[in-house]
Amino acid sequence: MKKIIILIILLISGLALNAQNQSAYIKAMTKGLEAMGNVQSEQDFANVAGQFERIAAKVKDQWHPQYYAALNYINASFRAESLETKDGYTDKAKVFIDEALKMAPNDSEVVALEGFNYMAQLAADPGSRGAMLSQKASQIFGKAVSMNPENPRALALMAQMQFGTAQFFGSSTEGPCTSAKKTIPMFKAEAQGEGFSPTWGIEMAQALIENCGK
């Protein structure tokens, strides 16, 4: 009897410990995602990226922390001033994307983020990187869309690339604009969010649609 009780107690405390860890992870992720909602400056993005980086250092079997660390470094790169700093951020993002890709090589979200990082590198120096990286980014967005045709981020990023190209060549932007519009209901449908799955991107699609009107 004693032994059984001890066993039960040990079992419960073991579960509790695990749950405690689990809840700490959820708490840390939730805190990070909350912080993500309030970012403005380059430094804010870098700080939030650092937050996810710390989670990623502890939780090595989930791709979400890696994903958000990379996403925030990419966003920091868009806001940074010098080419060196921009490249520093995208280099760092690459490390986390590679880790996430190892865990979830066939996840449309992670693949789309890989393309987003190329887009950020392209934006840093379009003159000399445009030709090479636009091809690469388009190809990866295409891959992300084919993995999940319902992923609004993959679709919106793809539309963004196509829009830029069409504008450059003075050809019709109708195609990318139509597909950008299609993503809005998709974004809205997922707004409640499940777990830590990415839900960002509606602002990007809306901004693109606004540009389409012009």
Partner: protein, 722 residues
Amino acid sequence: MKTQIFVILALMVAASMVNAQTIISGVVTDQKGETLPGANIYLKDTFDGTNSKADGTFSFETEETGNQILVISFIGFKTLERPVDLSASALEVNISLKEEINKVDGVTIAAGAFEASDVKKVTVLKPLDIVTTASAAGDIMGAINTLPGTATVGESGRLFVRGGEGYETKVFIDGMEARNAFGATAPNVPTRGRFSPFLFKGTIFSTGGYSAEYGQALSSALVLNSNDIAAETQGDVSLMSVGGDAAYTKRWEKTSLSGKIQHTDLRPYQDLVKQAFDWEKAPVSTVGEIVFRQKVKSNGWLKVYANADQSNFIIRQPNINRGGLKDTINLSNDYFYLNATYKDILSSKLSIRGGVSTTSNAENIIFNRDKVNGKEVGAHFKLGLNWDASERVVVNFGTEYFHKKFERAIDPASEAAVQFDFTDNITSSFVEADYFASNKFILRAGLRFENSSLLNQSWASPRLAASYKVGEKGQFSFAYGSFLQAPQNQYALVNTDLKPEEATHYILNYQYIHDGRVFRIEGYQKDYKNLVKFSSPNDFNPLNYNNAGFGQAKGVDIFWRDSKTVKNTDYWVSYSYVDSERNYQDFSISGTPSFLSSHNFSWVIKHFVQPLRTQFGATYNYASTRPFHNPNLPGFQNDGTPAFHDLSLNAAILFKQNIILYLSSSNVLGRDNVFGYQYANSPNAQGVFERQAVRQAAKRFIFVGLFITLTKNGQENQLRNL
């Protein structure tokens, strides 16, 4: 008993619930005491941590207790782990991070080398620049010829570097030798590089002092790095004023395979545009290429490239010794090149690369009625290792084997045929260590060892280089090295005991790179010895050939590039000064060779006009007078040609996403450039040596090309190619 256990357990659980809080705060600085914002500070294996603020300070709360490890990480610095005791309610930790040695983007060995690369961030040129240069007309060598250290030698088309002859530059593809990298040609008919610039993602053009990994080149190494796996399945079609090509690329997950057929025929063009050269049959060539890429496991790459090229032409050249009667030169060339390389990462500290390349080049020439058939077969095997010996030391070492067989059959119409041949096998090893003293100072020491089977002799050539970074943007570099090259085929053929020629380089360089602007100045001194000397070029007596030749070259190269000041505009300016004399070949005394012009200047500009979706480009090349020997005057190399001027223009128009139109013209001003003079062997009745000028093939070369790319979604173009 039961209750006791419960109580103890309850207490234990409670203890872990009642968490003591500790506030950890402090400042993060670098070794010099400068504060570091944005560093990541956290307790290992917990979720607790923060980033340092703009002033380097940080502060965070934790509920952890006891002995923990505080981790501080920041880009460019070594991650620090420090044990902390969280028994108190507040803990102040001040941290000084040590700079991490950056082996990729930190200080680099820059003396002598011009690198065009996408991989490294700080480079002088981008791969794209090679093909968008107006005067290049799609030839890699044409673009390289706008860089300092090169001299314009219009009748040759080869790379003449720092007082060196064309043969002193050696071409490598993915580290493997590429013999006969220039097309076969007749005297005074300019040639082009054989390899399409579209095959390569990066280029290192070294004008001296290069790594011990490269040998058998006296003056310069041009290292071409080929593209990785193709992006996607696509077809390409090009229609050009001088021919056309069709290519197809198939992409699988880990593999890509491309095939290309190119046919060049200058006959229709030359019928249309008046030529100064008298072509009986304009050059025609057919090139087939195969490119194969395979990813092996996670880090291995197998690359195979094959090029087969068949070309021929017949040209008539006036002969001053035959009263202007023309010699007919009928040349046909069969060329094959195969390059296969493999590289892989063996461990975090060791990477391996190896490969094999073979070249077969047969040139059959009919000079009037005399036949000269030459064939060169070369093979190169290489195995190299890169070892990250420590945080500060990288060692690059390997071994190579070069095989060369050259044969020449001379079958004159009036005399008996003669045949010569020789085989040389060179075994070599190289070892080179880079020592990163800090992120500001790097030292490289290397040694190359070669043994020739033909001569049964061995040589060791030392190399030394160092770079010191001054501030964020500037850097001084120094390089020294001894460089050996086996004598040219036509001399080794006659006398197989000739030693390799030797050049010693001393280079001092200053480079400033910042924000789209590059400034470089480089001074050098080059000493030649053991150059081949002979009494007359058409002598087949081995005793009349020796290694008594010598010479030197010294000069200054300056490069300035600015892509920032004017929007959508990028330009660069190169200036080279060289002072050189040698006593080699059939020179009677020391003199400046005829290929050398003291001052060379290039100006390259590219401007993109967004509304027209067109990139316009211009190149202006200048070369000062070139010496030649005028037998009507006393002295040696005693006269000079007029200076060389060329203004070339080009435009690339992006018609549609998948269609590009490319136009270029050389020498738009139509200047009649003279490269030198050929004098008669004996004087005429008045006692004067008559002469004829060596000139351009035509006033201008005009190129029009339409490049079309076909993909499933129609998104791609050959933009990256232009």
